[in-house]
């Protein structure tokens, strides 16, 4: 987790250099300034080019983004309105991602503390938190993906080709809609089934260890096809 946060920080420096408009949208910065605050939460207001109900921490923005209290951060007003990404989506998606990351870090810290106290495997509260944190990893990944893809708009090839110009000329809206609906229909069958089956596997709990390793015949285990062998088969 700490490594992930370090990499995220490095990624941020890179984005500031190569895709400054994305960074400005993520942080909801409107004016190019030095010594910028970090906006923890706000409701970005693109029409008036400002943030409402902002909760700011002074100087922290420059410190995190440039690693210097005096660092300059580009604001969205430096970009023509048609070259700016939407602000609210990357702003909130990024906060969801980072928020989950910090929760995970807190969980790691809690695990160290519990291990120190020798109660790592006995605290129901901690174990339940671990279970809940599992799916949050997916949420964080999706939020991060949303941040980076919405934040790069309106460009497909940054600064060179707009998303609107990169659509296949022959592709009609109806065709795109039809294929999207088909994908949705398929995933509405596949995803709940997969979810249900995974939940059932988890509810069953860890498989009982069979008494012997299944014999091998021409490279395959000769035991019947069943769930219990899945974990064991890997070690063969």
């Amino acid at each position: 987790m700490p490594l992930q946060i370090f990499l995220g920080d490095q990624h941020g420096l890179n984005t500031l250099e190569h895709q400054p408009a994305k960074l400005a949208a993520i942080e909801a910065r409107w004016d190019t300034e030095r010594r910028v605050p970090l906006t923890l939460l706000a409701i970005p207001d693109p029409a008036n080019e400002t943030n409402r109900f902002a909760i700011d921490v002074p100087l922290l923005g420059s410190l995190i983004l440039t690693h210097s209290l005096d660092g300059e951060v580009k604001g969205l007003k430096d970009f023509k309105p048609e070259d700016r990404p939407p602000v609210a989506i990357p702003f909130f998606a990024f906060r969801i991602m980072v928020g989950i990351g910090l929760l995970m870090l807190a969980l790691v810290a809690a695990s160290w503390w519990l291990r120190y106290r020798g109660r790592l495997f006995d605290s129901p509260l901690f174990l339940r938190a671990c279970v809940l944190m599992g799916p949050l990893g997916f949420v964080a990944v999706l939020a991060g993906w949303t941040t980076t893809e919405v934040g790069r708009q309106p460009w497909t090839v940054y600064g060179l080709m707009r998303t609107a110009d990169s659509v296949s000329p022959s592709l009609t809206g109806a065709a795109a809609l039809a294929s999207l609906l088909a994908y949705m229909a398929v995933y509405l069958v596949i995803f709940p089934t997969g979810f249900y089956l995974m939940a059932r596997l988890i509810r069953k709990g860890p498989a009982e260890a069979t008494d012997a390793v299944a014999p091998i015949e021409s490279g395959r285990s000769s035991a019947p096809v069943q769930v219990e062998l899945h974990t064991e088969g890997k070690s063969l």
């Binding site: 022959s170 088909a182 596949i190 089934t193 997969g194 285990s221 000769s222």
Partner: protein, 335 residues
């Protein structure tokens, strides 16, 4: 920027990649279709086990083909993929059903019949979609400048429907050959029977396509029937007839591997036939391989990674086939 021409190498990589894909995923799609004709759960288990360890590795080549086309021949990609928008989407969705059926069928015993159907119909639909793509590709697309200007349903022509059905028989033959190789007893007998049926369908389709294609395009007709080409290219149809005869014999006799090898031979000859017809076009009637190629520096850059990766793919693919060699049995599976 340099005098080296990477187009032939990329043509070779892409051509080989697509051919490997057609052979490898072809036999497991074919097995997926024959699966629907198996009489009971036990034989279906055996049939699925015959491809379970290798099918997803086979689809590697689809990724290589798609990305290779995008990176090495971007103009061709930009025209072909939008023109085949729906067949590609349908193929991918069918493969989703087929792919998850391997896992869901074992984990979700209450709905096994549903996933059995998913596996069978997924295989059929993906195969027909691929055949339709091939037919539409050979026929050519409406192109103006550097873009496809037809509609999303241009692909649906009588010729493309013929190639779609033809490929069902073709993959069915490959799949039957694989099952003869991998199974014994009653299932093997069934595979031989379905193999002969598929081979008959393949031969009819080969004749129809070989007559229809030159009629569609004067250029293709001239390539095959002008002097001295007609003499120089005559080994292709003659070899096809001989291989077809050998495959029939292998399906009817005791041979374990003859049918699969014969099926590969027929695919190789058909593939060569298409290549002879279309060379050097990558967008038939419009753009050659050289016109559609990305810049030499792009192709060189991509080649570095590809030439590292290809041997690795070959080694792990070969290894997995070696590990899972021999006959399969119903009660033996890798799951």
């Amino acid at each position: 920027m340099n005098a080296l021409d990477f187009v032939p190498v990329w043509t070779l990589i892409l051509g080989a990649g697509i051919f490997f894909y057609v052979l490898l995923d072809g036999f497991d799609l074919g097995v997926g279709m024959l699966y629907g004709f198996m009489p009971d759960t036990r034989s279906r288990n055996t049939v699925m086990s015959a491809i379970a360890p290798v099918w997803d590795g086979n689809e590697t080549w689809l990724v290589l083909g798609g990305v290779g086309l995008l990176a090495a021949f971007p103009l061709a990609f930009a025209i072909i993929v939008p023109a085949l928008y729906f067949p590609i989407a349908v193929m991918l969705l069918a493969m989703v059903f087929r792919g998850v059926a391997f896992e869901f069928r074992f984990r979700d015993a209450e709905h096994r019949t549903f996933w059995d159907h998913g596996f069978f119909y997924g295989s059929v639909v993906a195969t027909v979609a691929q055949g339709v793509m091939l037919g539409a590709f050979i026929q050519g697309f409406r192109v103006e400048g550097r873009v496809f200007v037809g509609t999303a349903f241009d692909f649906l022509t009588p010729f493309a429907i013929l190639t779609g059905i033809a490929l069902v028989f073709g993959y069915g033959l490959l799949g039957a050959g694989w099952l003869v190789l991998k199974t014994e007893g009653e299932i093997q007998e069934r595979a031989r029977r379905y193999g002969r049926l598929s081979l008959a369908g393949v031969l009819v389709a080969l004749v129809l396509v070989s007559v229809w294609t030159p009629l569609m395009s004067e250029q293709i007709s001239r390539r095959w029937f002008s002097w001295p080409n007609i003499l120089l290219l005559s080994p292709v149809p003659i070899a096809t007839a001989l291989v077809a005869f050998g495959t029939w014999r292998a399906l009817s006799g005791p041979s374990q591997s003859g049918a699969f090898i014969g099926a590969i031979g027929l695919f190789a000859l058909s593939y060569a036939g298409i290549a002879i017809s279309l060379w050097p076009m990558i967008v038939p009637h419009h753009y050659t391989l050289w016109q559609a190629a990305s810049s030499p520096s792009t192709q060189a850059f991509l080649m570095v990674g590809t030439l590292f990766l290809l041997p690795i793919i070959f080694v792990y693919t070969g290894w997995s086939y070696w590990v899972f060699r021999g006959k399969v049995r119903a009660d033996v599976g890798y799951h």
